[in-house]
């Protein structure tokens, strides 16, 4: 952004709205938030899997909303209900599939380097929360399968002491976790994860760094570097 942001008078700058706005623009200037260029090494299929995960998640949410609005009788007893139910399940399969390929890619790129640890950690937490979301979905099916899963799970959950407030045999509770609480957490984590990627820029490959830095310095330089080299 070439035009300078509005610089408010001193009195205004004590307002939290001003401070939040200034900080947001400083940390996430529009050209970083919505860039039109990426480094050449990003033109590889392995960089597509984060977005594939988001696309699959969008289908999960859309089909889930339809299932929720129509209800269990519809998704068990009608042809269209079966179809939307299957869309929901298979989108979840693609979501986890793409997430794992994404995770492997980032692992072998060492994509936590250069101040990107929070990107890795938000990703890992999203994975764990998503497993919880999937599990509460399986026990919300309202069929023998969900009863079987719930009764297999309850002993384990009781044994670790969380059965009293996370009760897999309580449909209302599991359904609330599945359709409201955990999806909201996953959405917030994905938003944070992607904003962090935008802020630091895509991590340079190991080889590109080796070419630039003197050989002895490479091991430690990785931790100190920021996204500046991506520009």
């Amino acid at each position: 952004m070439s035009a300078p942001a509005h610089r408010p008078a001193k009195a205004e700058r004590t307002m939290w709205t001003t401070r939040v706005r200034e900080r947001a623009v400083r940390e996430m200037p529009p050209e970083k938030l919505l860039p039109d260029r990426q480094p050449s090494y990003v033109s590889s299929w392995i960089y597509v899997f984060g977005v594939v995960t988001i696309a699959a998640f969008a289908v999960v949410v859309a089909s889930g909303v339809i299932l929720g609005l129509k209800g269990p009788e519809w998704w068990h007893l009608t042809g269209l209900g079966h179809f939307v139910n299957s869309m929901h399940l298979w989108a979840v399969e693609i979501f986890f599939f793409a997430m794992v390929v994404h995770l492997w890619g980032k692992f072998f790129m060492g994509a936590w380097r250069g101040g990107r640890s929070r990107t890795w950690v938000t990703g890992a937490i999203t994975f764990l929360v998503a497993i919880g979301a999937a599990f509460t979905g399986y026990v919300s099916q309202q069929n023998f399968d969900s009863q079987w899963i719930a009764f297999e799970a309850k002993d384990g959950l009781n044994a670790v002491g969380i059965g009293s407030f996370f009760n897999v045999a309580n449909f209302g509770q599991m359904y609330t976790w599945h359709v409201i609480l955990l999806p909201t957490v996953v959405v917030l984590l994905i938003v944070g994860h992607v904003l962090l990627v935008r802020r630091t820029g895509v991590v340079p490959p190991y080889a590109a760094r080796l070419a630039k830095a003197p050989p002895a310095a490479t091991a430690t330089a990785a931790g100190a570097a920021t996204g500046a080299e991506d520009a």
Binding site: S43, S44, I46, F49, F97
Partner: protein, 57 residues
């Protein structure tokens, strides 16, 4: 519903999955297939060239 379609005959989901056992490792065939597919897709993503844009700098 089993066997009402050719695909249904191959992927019969109305029976328990088969399990592979190797020493202490036990894994169902569907889970094993998914892991193999993920590895295949991962390797393909590294090897298949990414299409170039027209107006490349």
């Amino acid at each position: 519903m089993t066997g009402t379609t050719p695909l249904g005959a191959i992927f019969d989901l109305n029976v328990p999955a088969h399990y592979l056992s190797w020493h202490f490792i036990q894994i169902s065939v569907p889970n094993f297939v998914v892991i193999v597919l993920m590895i295949v897709v991962f390797v393909a993503a590294l090897l298949i060239p990414f299409p170039k844009r027209e107006r490349e700098p």
